[in-house]
């Protein structure tokens, strides 16, 4: 009896599984965006506000403007738990949904980005890896469907060195100083190393590396070493629990917080709040503003939260990662709008949105019209420049908020473009890809 029941259950399961991959019915005049998110697992504290910000912005645009160009934006979230194969499964399941399929995909994980690049290129779905992923994908001739706006890790590393140089009184003053990098020993953490080593030869500083094995819950050895070697400046490339543990570690060995600067994924509330008062003075890079004091964020409060339908809570609106989700949504929707300019106000396919991204040009007037003045900087992409020469700012935690402590810094675009091209061409060679001729692409 037990057995018959089990067999029937198995049969039912098999039948149900065949229903997988079938798309839900969507109304015709809608643009679908798949949302790969992580709201559970070890990186949930960082993934939740990002997902909330993005979703709230989309809801706001639908409520306030009726969508983009009259086309409503719909989305469906899929939980990846920061897991590469779950990310791939989510992408495969969602890529054909909606009247025109997925218009783009934001993996929000360097690992998932790498896993999706080939598939999405073959499926003609743009992969938007905003501030993470493959830095060399900025050379769009080899990576037509990957966008790394507004700045990559290599750009951020260069900007950080520039900032530190400024603080020392000039880049030439860096000679003989010690710059350290505390990083999580996975692909993401190792990204800036080649850039920082190149710059150490250029400016004459000593580059010290402090790897921390993932997930980074135990770092006392690393910080004792840092105490011994006393680098003048310390950068951090961490994610998740490693960040807060590192900040506490720095406090426990008395490292001056204002000389400790994290990458933009190491500078948000979940990283500094667990460390309490010890984190005051810690700095991090960023490419957007924090806080609720922007017209577009206020619109979110008005059109979404005042109607009791927000994904997060009011006090969390404006946190660093929340606003980052908003910026991601702004970029994506502007790309769709740009594409609509050429292809018409209708639901667009992935290749059309790719055209939109390659011709994305957000000017300061447009930013003001969006109500994002101060929240983001102008940016323009092109066929061979999928990064857009974005600028970086440094922000500092004062115990309650993140405040800008620098102006917009432009990294060394000449050096970076060369580095991207070189690495991308090597990849193209390995894979047998012929780079596009951007002069010929419309």
């Amino acid at each position: 009896m037990m057995l018959i029941k089990t067999l029937l259950a198995v049969a039912a399961v098999a039948v149900a599984l065949f229903g997988l991959g079938a798309s839900t019915v969507f109304a015709q005049n809608e643009q679908f965006i798949p949302r790969l998110v992580y709201r559970t697992g070890p990186y949930a504290p960082n993934g939740i506000p990002f997902a909330d910000g993005y979703a709230d912005y989309l809801d706001m645009v639908d409520a306030r403007d009726g969508g983009v160009g009259g086309v409503k934006i719909t989305y469906e979230e899929c939980e990846t738990a920061y897991n590469n194969d779950k990310g791939v499964e989510c992408y495969e399941r969602l890529k054909n949904q909606g009247p025109t399929g997925a218009s783009l995909v934001d993996p929000l994980s360097t690992g998932i980005t790498y896993a999706l690049i080939e598939r999405a290129t073959a499926d003609k779905v743009p992969v938007v890896s905003m501030g993470y992923g493959r830095a060399d994908a900025s050379y769009g001739a080899v990576f037509p469907y990957v966008f790394t706006l507004p700045a990559t890790y290599w750009a951020q590393a260069d900007a950080l060195v520039k900032y530190v140089g400024e603080k020392e009184g000039g880049l030439d003053k860096l000679k003989g100083k010690k710059l350290g990098l505390v990083y999580i020993d996975i692909a993401y953490g190792k990204e800036p190393i080649s850039t920082l080593e190149k710059l150490s030869q250029k400016y004459g500083y000593t580059f010290l590396k402090y790897p921390v094995s993932a997930p980074g819950i135990e770092q006392s050895a690393t910080w004792l070493q840092i105490r011994q070697q006393r680098p003048d400046w310390l950068f951090m490339w961490g994610w998740g629990v490693m960040n807060s543990t590192a900040i506490k570690g720095a406090a426990s060995v008395g490292y001056p917080m204002d000389h400790f600067i994290g990458v933009w994924w190491s500078g948000s509330e979940p990283d500094v709040v667990p460390a309490g008062a010890a984190a005051v003075g810690y700095e991090s890079g960023t490419f957007h503003g924090a806080g609720q004091d922007y017209p577009t964020v206020k619109d979110i409060l008005k059109y979404v939260y005042d109607k009791n339908s927000g994904h997060s809570t009011r006090d969390k609106v404006g946190e660093v990662l929340y606003n980052r989700g908003v910026i991601n949504a702004i970029y994506d929707l502007e790309a769709i709008r740009t594409a609509q300019g050429k292809f018409g106000n209708k639901p667009l396919k992935g290749e059309e949105v790719q055209w939109g991204y390659e011709h994305l040009d957000i000017t300061s007037q447009r930013i003001a019209a969006l109500g994002a003045d101060g929240l983001m900087a102008p940016i323009a992409l092109s066929c061979d420049n999928h990064e857009g020469n974005g600028k970086v700012r440094i922000q500092q935690w004062d115990g309650k908020q993140w405040k800008f402590v620098s102006d917009w810094i432009q990294p060394d675009r000449g050096m970076l473009t060369e580095m991207y091209k070189e690495s991308a061409l090597a990849y193209a060679k390995e894979k047998g890809i012929t780079p596009r001729d951007c002069a010929k692409v419309m």
């Binding site: 559970t40 949930a44 590396k209 790897p211 135990e218 050895a221 060995v253 008395g254 667990p274």
Partner: protein, 311 residues
């Protein structure tokens, strides 16, 4: 040649030239090791008394810590949250005994191990369902200031953790040696059927042992939570406690402490002095390699029970 020098010469030269730093690293290692032991204790208790390798221990630490911090965030005073968390842990032990252990009585070790894996998944989902996926900062007033004693840096927090672990171990040792319940636990650890045949109630013993392990887990969770903030990653400290278990032996409470100290010191010394030769971040596998090295000489851990196989 370079590599050989880096492995066999430079570390010792560095150590010789900087004795205070060596002391600092050793003390840091001892204190880290104590934190690992706190988690390992939970494993040892359950293995000792029910023969089960509790894969869910890390998740139980997380779950207990989440309950504690969740109650505090709802406004309860610390002592009330602590007591209620203990009550929750006892309830959990009762549920586990009833739903998992009782139906699987006398199954092989690996089956029980797998059942605890199922339990781990369940608790993981349940904990995040009830308390959410965010970080919960935890501050119950443990001092965190760095102290400089004789040129050596020591963190107050670690000293408090060491004191807590020490008292916990002393309490457990007393419990096992000098109370009737403790003796019953040891009997059950030896042989389930024999213990039952002399009248020891297996079920109550299991509930007691899992509750005690749960309370130990709660304390470990509070200490680690104060260090990292209570979040999902805390369940990963169980992986750090495994080398401690191998080294000390699965069935020995003093073994958990001694193992923790050895692993802590070994790990940190290796990371600081030998790490640069290998590119750094060798802590993780070094702890396991160290435990493995010990195992080759004592296949049941330093203090573990020798299993005598009869043909």
């Amino acid at each position: 040649m370079d590599v050989l020098a880096a492995v066999f010469v430079t570390p010792f030269a560095n150590m010789w030239g900087n004795p205070e730093f060596v002391v600092e690293v050793i003390i840091g290692g001892l204190l880290s090791g104590v934190m690992y032991s706190l988690v390992a204790l939970g494993f040892v208790l359950i293995y000792k008394a029910s023969g089960v390798f509790n894969f869910a221990q890390g998740t139980m630490v997380l779950f207990a810590a989440l309950t504690f911090v969740g109650l505090i965030e709802h406004g309860l005073p610390i002592w009330a949250a602590f007591l209620i968390a203990i009550a929750v842990v006892i309830l959990l032990a009762v549920a586990i005994e009833r739903l998992v252990l009782r139906p699987l009585v006398n199954q092989e070790q690996i089956i029980l191990f797998m059942a605890t894996i199922g339990l781990a998944f369940f608790l993981e989902g349940f904990g995040q369902l009830v308390w959410g996926g965010d970080v919960h900062p935890l501050d119950i007033g443990i001092p965190k200031a760095p102290l400089i004693i004789g040129g050596v840096l020591v963190n107050e927090f670690d000293l408090v953790a060491a004191a807590v672990a020490g008292s916990l171990v002393a309490a457990l040792a007393l419990f096992f040696q000098h109370t009737a319940v403790g003796r019953a636990l040891r009997a059950v650890a030896d042989d389930h059927q024999a213990a039952q045949s002399v009248g020891i109630p297996l079920r109550s013993i299991w509930v007691i042992v899992w509750s005690v392990a749960g309370v130990v887990g709660l304390v470990a969770g509070i200490m680690w939570g104060s260090r990292l903030g209570v979040q999902f990653s805390i369940s990963l400290v169980a992986l750090k406690a495994l080398p401690v278990l191998i080294l000390g032996g699965f069935t020995s409470v003093p073994g958990a402490i001694v193992g923790g100290l050895i692993i802590g010191v070994g790990e940190k010394l290796a990371e600081v002095f030998w790490g640069p030769a290998f590119g750094g971040a060798i802590e993780d596998w070094f702890a396991y390699a160290l435990a493995l090295a010990f195992l080759l000489f004592r296949p049941h851990g330093l203090f573990g029970e020798r299993i005598i196989e009869r043909v």
